[in-house]
């Protein structure tokens, strides 16, 4: 074997170990609830807990709402930037990166100051409006991933010429966006959507500080009070995330002439 090949293999082996050893450890630990035998008892307990189903459902609904809102916000914006304001792109990219730089805790305290129950827009006044606020804050959190995915997808097609072709055939803006642009960046939008899902499903800080019954705070609660169940929960959330990634692969494959945005 050539030395360079060997080096590459070493890197791969190191990467795999780095990633899988803690995961395997967690998995092994999650099976040891009953003394002396491996069992799925911890999983049974977790899945039987009504709060598990409730929080997973809540977070899933919230994730779907976040995806819809995020797509509705990002696709037209990225499209317009590419079509008409290419010089604005660095500015917009910088803005979409901000949520990665500003800690979630800072964001959520900002929200609480602006939208508290004695403010002009008291979103935290009721549970429903707090859900709304949480959804918008998730849109912000997922923005870097969603924007990048959609922007890459748009770069892979000739946005300007396709737009003009549709215009000359009599299509207005909404028709162009829904029938021409969106279907052609479907894969990119999907991968952005799955990343959003993965972020929202496990998010803790915002849900906790806004006091909403999401999966993240439930995970933390169990983690603080039990021994084996949190390990089982970690594995379950990994499985959910991986299922998302697998779905990206399935949707990406076999779609002609399309390039996924983020991988």
């Amino acid at each position: 074997m050539k030395p360079r090949r060997l080096g590459a293999w070493l890197v791969i082996v190191f990467g795999v170990l780095y990633f899988f050893v803690p995961l395997l450890g967690t998995f092994e630990f999650s099976l040891r609830l009953l003394r002396g035998v491996y069992s799925v008892a911890a999983y049974r307990i977790v899945l039987a807990d009504p709060r598990f189903a409730a929080t997973v459902t809540y977070s899933t609904v919230l994730a779907l709402a976040t995806i819809v809102m995020g797509v509705a916000l990002v696709v037209p914006t990225a499209y317009w930037i590419q079509l008409r304001l290419p010089r604005m792109r660095p500015v917009v990219e910088f803005i979409t990166l901000l949520p990665l730089v500003i800690p979630a805790i800072v964001l959520v305290f900002g929200y609480l100051r602006i939208y508290n129950s004695s403010s002009a827009l008291p979103l935290t006044g009721s549970a429903r409006t707090t859900d709304l606020l949480l959804m918008f804050s998730y849109v912000t959190l997922a923005l870097p991933y969603m924007y990048r995915a959609v922007d890459n997808g748009l770069r892979a097609i000739d946005v300007r010429t396709l737009t003009e072709a549709a215009q000359s055939l009599g299509a207005g803006w909404s028709t162009i966006l829904l029938r021409v642009i969106l279907p052609n960046v479907r894969v990119a939008v999907l991968s952005g959507a799955f990343l959003t899902f993965a972020i929202v499903i496990g998010e803790f800080t915002m849900a906790s500080l806004l006091d909403r019954p999401a999966f993240g705070p439930y995970l933390q609660l169990i983690g603080a009070n039990r021994a084996y169940e949190p390990a089982a929960l970690s594995i379950i959330s990994f499985a959910i995330t991986w299922a998302c990634m697998g779905l990206i692969q399935i949707f990406t494959r076999g779609v002609p002439g399309q390039v996924a945005g983020a991988h």
Partner: protein
């Protein structure tokens, strides 16, 4: 009456004037080419007609209606792009039917019109294919069908054949022309390929640096160029410098040889410096001195140093 009128069109960008004082009247069913070198404003002119750019000044009238400020999707103008621009997510049939669907035509009508169009471009069996499953030439034919399906008042083509290889270029351009004749659709065709323009057009508009240099039939443009730019851009010329010997007869002396122009030289005086441009295909080499006809060779043989074959004639370089 003129069907499409382009009146004193101007388009300035930050640094350049892309189109300057373009004036053009096109009659119904006419095939007009915009011909000129890269950057002369052909595409910009076409895009203004399509409504993708708004002119700095001037007006566009279509069938007597001023459409200068109408948005592109309300103009009923068909456009064919160099890059085909088929919608990758739609089948051939969906592409061709797109404009009709947008116009909310009944499904049965759309189906029938799509079939009609696919027959017109001689691809009746490919309705269910996706664009990526077609060759470049097939894609461009589908793009043509898509543009024609909405029964546009004017068809605009921007270098539709530039991305194709030479053989298909020639066959497809003949096909475009025969479809255009069949439908009698008013057509503006942008190209930088003079052969394309000369062989297809009813009239050619030669442009340079945003201005119209000459408008005329291919015959006029080729044989009676009005400016030196047109003369040098269209076809190949041998330019010889000489002096006027007899203005009335059109006689010019070049290196002791007399050349007689087909027409007399107005406003010329004996001894004026004149350039004579001669198309290569009318030159024949001869040892004899022929009185009264053009003879471009000297009596002493020159030494040929290079020779490039270009289809119908031979380009040769001599050194004396």
């Amino acid at each position: 009456m003129n069907f499409l009128e382009i009146e004193n069109l101007q388009k300035r960008f930050a640094l350049t004037t892309a189109v300057a004082h373009v004036q053009l009247e096109v009659t119904r069913g006419e095939f007009v080419s915009l011909l000129g070198p890269s950057g002369c404003g052909k595409t910009t002119t076409l895009r203004i007609i399509a409504g993708f750019e708004s002119p700095s000044s001037g007006a566009i009238r279509l069938d007597g209606v001023d459409i200068t400020h109408r948005p592109p999707h309300q103009r009923n103008v068909g456009m064919v792009f160099q890059s085909y621009a088929l919608f990758p997510n739609m089948t051939v049939a969906e592409n061709v039917g797109f404009g009709l669907k947008v116009a909310k035509k009944p499904a049965a009508d759309i189906k029938q019109r799509v079939e009609e169009m696919l027959n017109l471009i001689k691809l009746p069996a490919l309705g269910n294919r996706y664009p990526y499953q077609l060759s470049g030439g097939q894609q461009q034919r589908v793009a043509l069908a898509r543009a024609l399906a909405i029964r546009p008042q004017v068809l605009l083509l921007d270098e539709p054949l530039s991305a194709l290889d030479a053989k298909i270029r020639v066959s497809l351009r003949l096909e475009i022309r025969s479809i255009q004749r069949e439908l009698g659709i008013t057509t503006i065709y942008v190209t930088h390929d003079q052969e394309e323009a000369l062989s297809l057009s009813d009239r050619i508009v030669v442009m340079s640096e945003g201005r119209v240099e000459q408008i005329g039939s291919p015959f006029e443009i080729y044989n009676f160029p009005r400016t030196s730019f047109v003369a040098s851009f269209v076809g190949t010329l041998n330019v010889l410098r000489g002096r006027v010997a007899d203005p009335a007869r059109g006689a010019i002396v070049i290196d002791d040889q007399e050349i007689v122009a087909s027409r007399g030289l107005e406003h010329a005086r004996v001894g004026d410096a004149y350039s004579v441009a001669i198309r290569p295909e009318i030159v024949s080499l001869s040892w004899a001195r022929l009185s009264g006809s053009v003879c471009a060779s000297r009596t002493t043989p020159s030494r040929w140093t290079r020779s490039i074959t270009r289809g119908s004639y031979c380009r040769s370089g001599g050194r004396r």
